[in-house]
């Protein structure tokens, strides 16, 4: 939903505060790192206050309070109030589990601007299966409470093979809940979703159908409910402009204080991400090796280096490039100019062929599984 940002850059505009990786849910597509069990050393309230203050001084306006489940943090209300005092537009990104009507009202008086609630599916059975807990009824209730408090309501549904067939019902549910905004986000395959890609990747046919449904409702509901549909990029020919460019406008702080140019960046090798416990936000943003590593265009290799489209997509996603080619500076293989694009397509075709028959076992995002699976699954592209 970013507006026209290209005219402003140079400093972080968007601060994503991942307050904790604890979460009562266990979504098998969670974009958190597999190593969630290693993040128990969380920043204190005071640390977060300083992060907020310093980032705001540099020009950050948008604040995402996220996780894990940010509601798990007992000091969430305090953090919201401080963000409000500093002039942020604050977004709470939550599953709704851990909230009640009183807490929603309290957030409002603390100055929270917006609450985004995620649903796993449009029916109780699938929602609760995917989340690994019984949460559907509570989510409905919380969505209504959010609306009652007069917040703009954004609902977020991550789409994948298990729920993409219910897209129409999902949209109808959002209409019923009077959402102002609906984000239909196709699963991005990092972390947990990567581990479960064989079970989650929708087929090309499913994607085409979903796209036409989303388009139809976009027209039908124009002026009433905005629908943002993010296409799954594995079926595209050009990569997404990941993070609007590395170190361009986005700053993520992980629960342990590590500063990242994107929330998946911790998977990249040989980069030491600076910690806010030891560094100011300004020095992290301006001077750290990590934030300068893929900034601008100098780092690029061919085919990106001489490509006329590099200012449009910045070569795509660094994490995806690394995951699939072993080289974080390569072109994102989603791009059909990448020498690895054909391999990606072959791999996707293979998954597509077998995935329809695959059901369980999905690997759920639990601390126990985190200890078991510590490395990202690699796709079997040819050079591996």
């Amino acid at each position: 939903m970013a507006g026209s940002l290209s005219s402003i850059s140079g400093k972080p505009l968007w601060l994503l505060a991942e307050l904790t990786y604890k979460c009562p849910l266990q979504c098998p597509y969670c974009s958190n790192p597999l190593e969630i069990s290693k993040y128990s050393n969380e920043l204190t309230t005071g640390d977060w206050f300083r992060v907020l203050r310093e980032a705001r001084a540099l020009g950050a306006m948008q604040l995402g309070l996220s996780g894990g489940e940010p509601l798990v943090r007992k000091d969430l209300e305090e953090i919201i109030a401080e963000a409000h005092r500093l002039g942020y537009y604050s977004n709470l990104i939550t599953s709704g589990v851990g909230m009640d009507a009183d807490r929603v009202a309290k957030f409002k008086t603390s100055g929270l601007d917006h609450i985004q609630i995620s649903f796993q599916a449009s029916d109780k059975e699938l929602n609760d299966f995917l989340g690994g807990t019984s949460s559907f009824a509570h989510k409905l209730e919380m969505a209504r409470a959010v609306k009652d408090q007069g917040y703009p309501m954004v609902l977020n549904i991550v789409l994948h093979q298990k729920n993409i067939e219910q897209l129409e019902d999902i949209i109808k549910m959002c209409v019923e809940l009077k959402a102002d905004f609906v984000e239909l986000a196709s699963t991005q395959y990092y972390g947990w979703s990567r581990l479960n890609i064989d079970y989650l990747l929708p087929t090309r046919e499913q994607v085409t159908k979903a796209e036409s449904i989303a388009k139809r409702y976009q027209t039908e509901l124009e002026g009433k409910m905005k629908i943002l549909y993010v296409v799954p990029d594995y079926y595209e020919k050009r990569p997404k402009a990941c993070m609007n460019g590395w170190g361009s406008i986005f700053l993520t702080i992980a629960p342990d204080g590590r500063a990242l140019p994107c929330h998946a960046a911790a998977t990249l090798p040989d980069i030491e991400f600076p910690n806010v416990r030891d560094n100011s936000i300004e020095s992290i943003w301006d001077d750290s090796n990590a934030f300068n590593k893929f900034r601008g265009f100098e780092w690029m290799e061919e085919p990106c280096r001489s490509c006329p489209e590099k200012e449009k997509d910045f070569g795509g996603c660094r994490c995806q490039a690394y995951m699939m080619t072993g080289n974080a500076a390569a072109a994102d293989p989603v791009c059909d100019k990448s020498p690895h694009h054909a391999d990606l397509q072959a791999e996707v075709a293979l998954i597509e062929k077998t995935s329809a028959n695959k059901n369980e076992p999905l690997i759920f995002r639990t601390m126990k599984n985190s200890k078991k699976y510590q490395t990202d699954k690699k796709l079997n592209l040819s050079q591996n």
């Binding site: 306006m61 948008q62 985004q116 002026g223």
Partner: protein, 86 residues
Amino acid sequence: MINQMPSLSSMYRFQWEEAQSSYVLLYPEGMVKLSRTAGEILKRVTGKTTVKQLVSDLETEFPGSDLEPDVLNFLTEAEKNGWISF
């Protein structure tokens, strides 16, 4: 339109940003940096000012030109974007 009193939609927050030296519109997970003119117009969109008054205000502050067509264009566009309502 000229006698109506537009107001900012509740989805949006309008504020001055020192670091950008400009007015911005903030909304769930997004923002728009406003041009100087857009900022000056939206500053006067309070729900209590008619478009007519708004134009004459602007013409007093920035004398020498007929601003009405630009203002009307901008407000039409802003309504279409859902930023304001009449």
